[in-house]
């Protein structure tokens, strides 16, 4: 579905990505794990069209991906950004409607709105509230719901568990699985490697702008180097 070949990205004089190649198949959850500053967000921002690659190409469903954010959304990729970036000055409902900005079929939009409310009943309760008054967890749900409203097939998620209480982190990962069961494909960037590996099918490990290892999650989770660097301990349980 998504195919990235030899992607190089520089900004602010820093070479943030140095030849990334990866692939995401339809229906998969693929995770990219790595430390702060490894280039995870840079990769997502490049796919979304905010950063221009200096070399390499991104193919989506067999054709070259557009390089402007709104056109990327139009081609079916949506991005739940780091820090959620919900529109605090608008109501919950307006936030969700903006997700459907490019869609003109009102009936289908209403149906999807109902689906999002079924998935996140809390958002339905707070429909008319200003999004800025939501709690951190609710804001993350709104950001995910808003992305679902775009009708994209591939969802890029940037650190969805960041800053959330452990119980909410668990909920967020359950929601990610539910979203996959709705027929979506997910590219998940996470610092919480333990949780990410538990939910994903395959993983790429990113270090200083390069992919150092990749494979099915079982293999990655069993890799001693990965365990030492990202799972924190021999038992691999401390990051949960």
């Amino acid at each position: 579905m998504l195919k990235i070949r030899d992607l190089h990205v520089s900004y602010g004089g820093i070479r943030a990505l140095k030849g990334i190649s990866l692939e995401v198949q339809a229906g998969e959850i693929v995770t990219i794990i790595g430390a702060n500053g490894a280039g995870k967000s840079t990769l997502l921002n490049t796919i979304s069209g905010f950063l221009k690659p200096s070399r390499g190409e991104i193919l989506y469903k067999g054709s070259k991906l557009a390089k402007r954010p709104d056109l990327v959304v139009r081609s079916g990729i949506c991005h739940v950004p780091e820090g959620r970036l919900i529109f605090a000055n608008l109501s919950v409902l307006d936030n969700l409607r903006l997700g459907a900005y490019l869609r003109s079929d009102k009936k289908a939009v209403l149906e999807d709105l109902e689906k999002v409310f079924a998935l996140f009943p809390r958002l339905k309760e707070r429909e008319q509230q200003m999004a800025g008054t939501l709690s951190g967890g609710e804001q993350q749900m709104l950001a995910m719901g808003r992305a679902l409203m775009t009708e994209g097939d591939l969802i890029l998620m940037d650190e969805p568990s960041l800053g959330l209480a452990p119980l909410l982190v668990k909920t967020v990962f359950e929601i990610i699985e539910t979203i996959r069961s709705m027929g979506k494909t997910i590219l998940l960037v996470e610092q919480n490697a333990f949780k990410a590996l538990a939910v994903a099918d395959r993983a790429y490990v990113l270090e200083q702008g390069r992919i150092v290892t990749s494979g099915p999650v079982a293999q990655i989770a069993g890799d001693p180097a990965v365990r030492a660097a990202y799972l924190g301990s021999k038992s691999g349980k401390s990051c949960g």
Binding site: S48, G49, F50, R68, P69, D70, V73, R74, C78, H79, P81, G83, L85, I86, F87, A88, N89, L90, D94, R97, L98, G99, Y101, L102, M130, G132, L134, S135, G136, Q139, R146, T150, G163
Partner: protein, 292 residues
């Protein structure tokens, strides 16, 4: 009492024209977080466009008015494309935008001085000068028209922003332009529309200012006051800009009427400094904070 009402009406009328200008500052600020000082130049050219449409082209008032507004809409968009778009594409720091805005403002003023000349020009008497008697009150026809048209334009603008899909996208872009792009909104188009709207209202304001006072290349300096009004009301907030403008216009006319017109601008700046000290975000400025 009669004198007070009279001053109040004058104040509201001038305040509504400040509001037309102030929303232009506020719209651009809300999306791009810098003060578009070239806006004054666009208003000044609006006054000239209207003046020449009436005198050179000998158009009737309404077509001349529309032509002036179309001219400033295009001009505002042109300023964005030339002075700001190249900076946006390079993700330049906001200071560069302000410098570019000042440059554009000086450029517009000097183009006019060099081509049209620095002389003061007076609009032909399109609107009769005789006031309308409302009981003991004498209301200027121009004041009445200014107030009415401004109110219609501002209501239209607020309805557009609050009720339409595009308006919601503008509000979303004001909150976070990156997130807005992630919704599939072409943010470049949003910026274009915002400058176009500001430019259109600048044309309305420019023609009214030209008619009320005179037309000269430094007329844009008056717009400093509408900028003050925008800050006063809360830069980036449209209702704030309108409220700030009406308050400023009213206070100004009352000061001019009861104290002395010499004090008028002094009071305007004292208010600005006062607001900046005690309430830096203005009456209705953005105060929402992101939650972690």
């Amino acid at each position: 009492m009669i004198q007070f009402l009279q001053q109040l009406i004058n104040g509201l009328s001038i305040g509504s024209v400040y509001a037309l200008m102030a929303v232009g500052y506020s719209l651009v600020y809300s999306i791009m977080s810098f003060s578009n000082f070239a806006h004054g130049g666009v208003i000044m050219l609006g006054a000239y466009f209207g003046f020449f449409a009436l005198t050179l082209l000998k158009l009737p008032f309404i077509p001349a008015f529309i032509l002036a507004c179309a001219g400033t809409t295009l001009l505002a968009i042109l300023v964005e494309r030339i002075a700001y778009k190249p900076l946006r594409e390079r993700n330049a720091p906001f200071l560069y935008f302000i410098i570019s805005a000042m440059g554009a403002s000086i450029l517009l003023e000097n183009i006019v001085i060099a081509t049209i000349g620095p002389t003061f020009r007076t609009y032909p008497p399109v609107i009769p000068r005789t006031p309308i008697q409302l009981g003991a009150l004498a209301v200027g026809r121009l004041d009445l028209i200014m107030f009415f048209i401004s109110a219609v334009c501002l209501t239209g603008l607020i309805l557009f922003i609050e009720k339409t899909k595009m308006g919601k996208a503008i509000q979303a872009a004001a909150y976070n332009i990156k997130a807005c792009a992630l919704m599939g909104v072409n943010t470049d188009k949003i910026i274009l529309i915002v400058f176009g709207l500001g430019g259109f209202l600048a044309g309305v304001a420019g023609v009214f200012f030209g008619m009320k006072y005179t037309v000269y290349p430094q007329i844009g300096n008056i717009t400093t006051k509408s900028f003050i009004a925008a800050v006063f009301g809360g830069l980036g907030s449209l209702p704030g800009a309108v409220l700030g403008s009406v308050l400023l216009g009213t206070i100004e006319t009352l000061v001019a009427g009861y104290l002395s017109s010499q004090f008028r601008d002094l009071i305007a700046f004292v208010i600005l400094i006062g607001v900046l000290i005690f309430r830096p975000s203005g009456i209705m400025g953005k105060t929402t904070v992101d939650k972690a």
